[in-house]
Amino acid sequence: MSVQDYIRERFFPHIWCPGCGHGTVLNNLVRAVETLGLDKNEIVMVSGIGCSSRIAGYLDFHTLHTLHGRALAFATGVKLSRPELNVIVPMGDGDALAIGGNHFIHAARRNINITAIVMNNRIYGMTGGQFSPLSGEATTATTAPFGTIDPDFDTVALATAAGASYVARTTTYHVQEIRKRIAEAIVHPGFAVVEVMSQCPTYFGRKNKQGDAVEMLRRYKEGTVPLDKQPADPEKIPRGVFVQRERPEYCKRYEHLVQAAMTDGAALT
């Protein structure tokens, strides 16, 4: 199949600004699905609110465009109900880790087999350039005209501590990595987090004098380093697979619980 076979062309053109990184994520998400040879009927994509969330509508899967921050909660209902479906949840940084932070850590704690993609552009784009919990200190935004005093989360460390069993980071400059990481995350039997640093030239770039999309991509190229090379380059942001571990998966555990409950069922009514 070609990439077009995964896209709802009826709903184009998309809403993203010229130079936005989210289209790169969409492209490589589709290619990851194609590489894995998944049936479109077996994929449910659940998103929240924001620029990132629109990715769901453009794709020819079962798509559920929900509430700000709540995508993982809806997705948990879908997945527990139908564990055989592949559930993919694209989220923005504010969506996943500000308003949705509670659902993020609890989905990770349960290790439910969902693929979470955090499209991190360090800004609220849809509402016009406010800082997010991933903006970092001294970032300029419409709600931080004097620079943020808010420290940022490290998505990888947070996901790891909360219990995610696959955690990776890449950027929109490293397109082959996006495809590979998303494919690995989908196949991984547990809660998988892929953080994709994605440029927002319209708001983050402009407010923080980071140049246009090309310049921002150059920063991703020069400002990040593969995980194994980071010790020699501690100033740069590491990319790669940080966590890949075996933990009991939630829906599998629920199956065992059902078997136990059915065995003891008579005693329980």
Partner: protein
């Protein structure tokens, strides 16, 4: 559950029995007094039936999870009380907008805020109607005894599945925690509604949000052969976002009309001694138990008094109230709030009807003595 059984249970358990009878197979919730027993019982019963149960991280997540599960074809329930009901409102609006069948139980306690967690109130009636933002229609049912809790729970599922809408079951602390007899009928004794599913075959264009002439929308389960978009934005017949004024107006009208135009089908109530009643009590939930006691007691003394017990609160059964109370000299609404239903009754009857409120809102169940004191005041006989 095939044979008829009789049990001595709490109202919350009657609700669980009703939900399982109706075919509930997915529950998500979060502990909150006084509804927690519903969740505790389902934690045992659902897995033993092969159903799904999950304790979520908060009230919001519980509401979201049941909506997700409903889209995959399950009959879903969540249960809560005041503060949790407030938290669920945004997702409840999503279920209205995206037309996802689901049932939400609110075992009411005193509010606002943390309020009076272990005591009774009926202060969430208007919140059930208008708790989520924006114009919308909603269905809310209630019950005063365990047999009716069972019946109304089954009805809540049937309405949710028929009209693709969230249905709120407004119980209260007294009904939820009180114990009395419940007879669970044999399977098949109460008809159950399964949601309409599309007959459109694979490969043929399916329009998930194109209503039939009767306003109903045949669904296709997530994971099936039809892939479509579901959103909380205003959307066209494909479920794709639209801000076209015609689409927006059409969808608001559809969401209102599918409920309001069927108000007569949704109106459940019971009447006691209304034929010649000069004084009509209107009540619901646990307050109706005291109102019924007063009615029977004063009737035995020859007073022309009757009771209309509402079981459907929303859509408000205005026509039915006008019909049943049209000839009364006075109507007294008995409820445990500042007059949520009283306001609706006044609007339904219009001037010069004499409509009075007999209420109590201190966390104590309104008693027959309280109601009689109100009646004496109304009659000008002092307290």
């Amino acid at each position: 559950m095939t044979a008829k059984t009789t049990k001595f249970v709490q109202g919350n358990e009657a609700c669980v029995e009703g939900a399982l009878y109706a075919g509930l197979d997915f529950f998500a919730g979060y502990p909150i007094t006084p509804s927690t027993e519903i969740m505790e019982l389902l934690a045992r019963r659902l897995p033993a039936n092969g159903g799904k149960f999950i304790q979520m991280e908060d009230e919001i997540a519980s509401m979201c999870a049941v909506i997700g599960a409903s889209l995959t074809g399950r009959k879903v329930l969540t249960a809560t009380s005041g503060p949790g009901f407030s938290l669920k409102q945004e997702a409840l609006g999503f279920a209205v907008m995206a037309e996802i069948p689901c049932v939400i139980v609110n075992v009411q306690r005193g509010g606002p805020s943390t309020g009076n967690p272990t005591h009774v109130a009926q202060g969430d009636v208007n919140q059930a109607r208008w708790g989520t933002h924006g114009d919308h229609a909603i269905v809310a049912l209630t019950a005063s005894n365990h047999q009716d809790v069972f019946a109304m729970t089954v009805e809540a599922f049937n309405i949710a599945e028929t009209y693709r809408t969230p249905v709120i079951l407004l119980l209260d602390e007294v009904v939820g925690h009180m114990r009395e007899r419940l007879t669970v009928p044999e399977a098949g004794a109460i008809p159950l509604v399964e949601r309409l599913r599309t007959s459109v075959r694979k490969g043929v264009d399916y329009h998930p949000y194109l209503p039939r002439d009767d306003g109903r929308l045949p669904m296709s389960d997530f994971g099936g052969v039809h892939r479509y978009n579901v959103t909380g934005l205003f959307h066209d017949m494909w479920g794709f976002p639209s801000d076209n004024p015609g689409v927006v107006h059409g969808l608001i009208r559809h969401l209102m009309d599918k409920i309001e135009n069927n108000a007569h089908r949704l109106a459940h109530y019971k009447t006691y001694h209304l034929q010649d009643a000069e004084t009509v009590l209107i009540s619901y939930g646990s307050a109706a138990r005291s109102a019924l006691h007063v009615t029977e007691n004063l009737r035995a003394r020859g007073e022309r008094i009757g009771l209309m017990e509402l079981q459907t609160l929303w859509p408000f059964p205005a026509e039915q109230v006008a019909r049943e109370c049209g000839h009364a000299k006075q109507v007294v609404v008995v409820e445990m709030n500042t007059g949520h239903m009283c306001q609706m009754v006044r609007a339904a009857l219009g001037p010069p009807a004499r409509v009075f409120l007999a209420n109590r809102m201190d966390g104590v169940l309104i008693t027959p003595t309280d109601i009689k004191a109100h009646l004496r005041l109304i009659a000008g006989r002092g307290v």
